[in-house]
């Protein structure tokens, strides 16, 4: 997935995690690593900005932002959908 590295950078910048993001696996649980609900919103805003997408309501839940891989998957899907539209 091409987006995973960019997302990792955004998580590092906006996730306010108490651990180094480089120590996290792509499928590591961001909430368990200390992602707060406030930081998760900052993260969503930054990702919308970076990829020029909008998360639809049914994507605004815990699962979408649980791991770097899940975010990347959502971003890929949304970019595809929004290009097709």
């Amino acid at each position: 997935m091409a987006t995973a590295e960019t997302i990792r950078d955004i998580v590092a910048k906006h996730g306010k995690l108490p651990v180094e993001v480089s120590t996290l696996a792509d499928d590591g649980d961001l909430y368990a690593a200390g992602l707060s609900s406030f930081a998760s919103v900052q993260l969503m805003l930054a990702i919308e900005e970076e990829f020029d997408i909008e998360f639809p309501e049914n994507r605004l839940n815990r699962k979408t932002f649980q791991t770097i891989a899940a975010i990347a998957e959502a971003v890929d899907e949304l970019t595809r959908d929004q290009q097709a539209a």
């Binding site: 909430y31 200390g34 707060s36 609900s37 919103v41 309501e57 049914n58 605004l60 839940n61």
Partner: protein, 393 residues
Amino acid sequence: MTIHTRTPTGDLSARMRRVADIAAAHADSVDREGRFPQEAVDALRAERLMGIQIPAELGGESASTAEIAELCSILGRACSASAMIFAMHQIKASSLVTHGGEAPWHQAFMARVAGEQLLLGSATTEGGIGGNLRNSICAIAVDGDTCRLEKNATVISYGDQSDAILITSRSHADAAPSDQVMTVFLKDQYTLEKTHTWDALGMRGTCSDGYVFKGEAPAEQILPRPFAEIAAQSMLAHAHILWSAVWYGIAADAFAKAQAFVRAAARKSPEAAPPGAIRVAEASSLLQGVKASIVAALEAYEQAKTDDDKLSSMSFAVAMNNLKIASSQTILTIINHCMLICGILAYKNGTPFSLGRHLRDAHSAQLMISNDRILGNTSTMLLIHKQDTSLLS
């Protein structure tokens, strides 16, 4: 403790109305003395209402959230402290029912809650964290099959009377503050050292003392899902709906008094409308607004219940937060209106129109998870969540 095994007669509401009669008779002394409403809780047990939410196959009655909300409002009209105790107990039961179903220990425990009519307490508030229930300082230590926890629990309602306490903590010593679990500790598995006595403005019968909690129990008593999920998927909805139902009951009772006052005045001098009449109409509209919000939230919860993604979504959290904000603020306006309608007879204690207890109890609503904190959380979500502004759908 007496264990009542016979199912009492009548439907759930009829059973709760019998409890409410007993609770009402003791409400003033419970409030004045700041004592636990033992008579009401004994009556709840005698009517076997403590286990109604537990699935029928485990000895409960599989009662729905709407049914429980109705019961909270019935008891809320009689004694808000008793009603809040019942509501808080049911909120804890919802965590077990929603998230403990697969785990053998929690299944057996649910059967005990129903069979023995156990009273469940809650310890989320912590010194240094306040009402931010999605953060913990304390951490549970799992050592082989045993877990240990020490928590500076600054508010545990009916801590002394609880048969078990469901308590949050970080999931291990190195865990982030938001990486939490919830554990059931049985009364003989913990000690409570009292740090504050609940001498409060209202809700005095909830006996929400402060304690240092120290517990040791088999590690299987830790609920099998992360507390983040429990909070989002069952606690948020149950707390805000059932609390609101209790508050609705308080306001409804104040309203009934005010309406009776105006009707009596109208009968005495039929030639002119009593001065309070217009305010009764205004209070009626506000009360209907609170009721409609609760009913709408119950519907939203029923719709979201079968879909984990929906339950954990921002739209659902925003809707539940908005219910709490609206109901906790509006009841104060309603009760204040009723106070103006009944005048000095409402202001004085010991009259049929006294509203001091209602007003004091209702003031807990905006602090019980501070409205400012909730508004802060909602405003964060609204940075990204686009509220659905359609009327129906």
